[in-house]
Assembly symmetry: C2
Homo-oligomer: 178 residues x 2
C-alpha cells in the first residue's frame, strides 16, 4: 500500500528560538488534500550515565510547558552544526559536572513523529569522572544519583514521567541485562 | 533549590487543528526573565495490544514531519472532552480493527516536556477480539503482528524509531516479565 504524503506547499508560521512552526498542504495517498502542522526542532541527545556501582545520574528540573518539576536523564538540544556525541559530552558536563571515557550510541528515535521532526540520540556513558563540583550555574536543576534498578522501577511506576527517560533507562537496563 | 518559573505574560502565536503555539515571558528562579515557546497539545493514548500467544499489533504509517514510514504501537490524540480509555478503545478499533476485554493503564508520560504539554496515556490491552476485517478506510496504515519479544528487539536495535513505542513495548515487557 502507498502510505507516503507528498508536499504541495509549505508556509512558515513562526521562526523561534528553539523551534519553528510550519503548515504544509499535502497530497494524501488517495489523492485527497490535507494540512499538516509541523514543529521543526534541531534534534537532541539524552544520556544514561552509569557509574561502576551501576548507579545513574538524573536531573530534576522545572518543565514550564507541563508546569511540573520532572526527573529526567541529562539531555539537551543540538547547537547548530553540532555533532550528537559532542552535544552529549557537553550536556553531561554542564548538567551533571561529569566526563565519561566510554560512549555508546544505544539508539535513536523520534520523540513525537506525529507533529515534530525532533530526533533524539540516546547514549550510554560509562567510565565517569567528576570534572566540576556542581552543575552549570545557568541551569536550574538538581542532580540525583540512584541505582539503575531503582530508576527502572521509577520509570515503570509513574515517578519518572518523561518519555525519553523511560525509553532510555529501560533500553539501558535491557542492554546491560540489569 | 527553587526551580519553578513563573509566567509573566503569554501570547498565542498560532491556533491550529492539532496544536497551538504560545510564547510566554517567564521569571526564572534567580529573578531574570526569559521566553518559553510552548506547543499546546490535547494529549494522546498509546496501546500495547497483546494476544494470547504474546504477539502485539503494530501499525506502519507515514509520518510527514519526519518524512518516513514508521512502525509504532497504535496511538492517537484525545478528542475534546474524551476520556483516555475511551480514546484508547477507539484508536485500537479504528487502526487495528480490534476490541479488548481487559485494559490496564501501564503509565502516563510527557512526550517532550521541554517544548510541549503533550501527555500520553499508555495502556496494555488484552482479551483481544477482531471486530472488523480491516482498519478504518480513512487511515493510511498497515497492521503488523509480531511476537512481543521480537518487537522488544526491534525497539532496541533501531528498527522501531518512535519514542512512545519504545517506551511502551519495553514497559509492557517488563510488566509482563517477558
Amino acid at each position: 500500500m502507498e502510505l507516503r504524503e507528498r508536499q504541495l506547499n509549505s508556509k512558515l508560521i513562526y521562526k523561534g528560538k528553539i523551534l519553528n512552526l510550519r503548515r504544509d498542504r499535502v497530497c494524501l495517498p488517495d489523492g485527497r488534500e490535507a494540512f499538516r502542522e509541523i514543529v521543526e526542532h534541531p534534534g537532541a541527545v539524552a544520556v544514561v550515565a552509569l557509574d561502576e556501582e551501576k548507579s545513574v545520574y538524573l536531573v530534576r528540573q522545572y518543565r514550564y510547558p507541563v508546569e511540573k518539576v520532572l526527573l529526567e536523564v541529562p539531555a539537551g538540544k543540538l547547537d547548530p552544526g553540532e555533532e550528537p556525541l559532542d552535544c552529549a559530552r557537553r550536556e553531561l558536563a554542564e548538567e551533571v559536572g561529569l566526563s565519561a571515557s566510554r560512549w555508546q550510541l544505544l539508539t535513536t528515535f523520534y520523540t513525537t513523529p506525529g507533529f515534530s521532526n525532533e530526533q533524539m540520540f540516546l547514549y550510554l556513558a560509562t567510565g565517569l569522572e567528576m570534572i566540576s563540583a556542581e552543575a552549570d550555574a545557568d541551569e536550574f536543576l538538581e542532580v540525583v544519583k540512584m541505582p539503575l534498578a531503582e530508576a527502572v522501577s521509577q520509570a515503570l511506576n509513574g515517578t519518572i514521567q518523561d518519555a525519553k527517560s523511560i525509553a532510555g533507562l529501560l533500553a539501558a537496563a535491557q542492554f546491560l541485562q540489569i
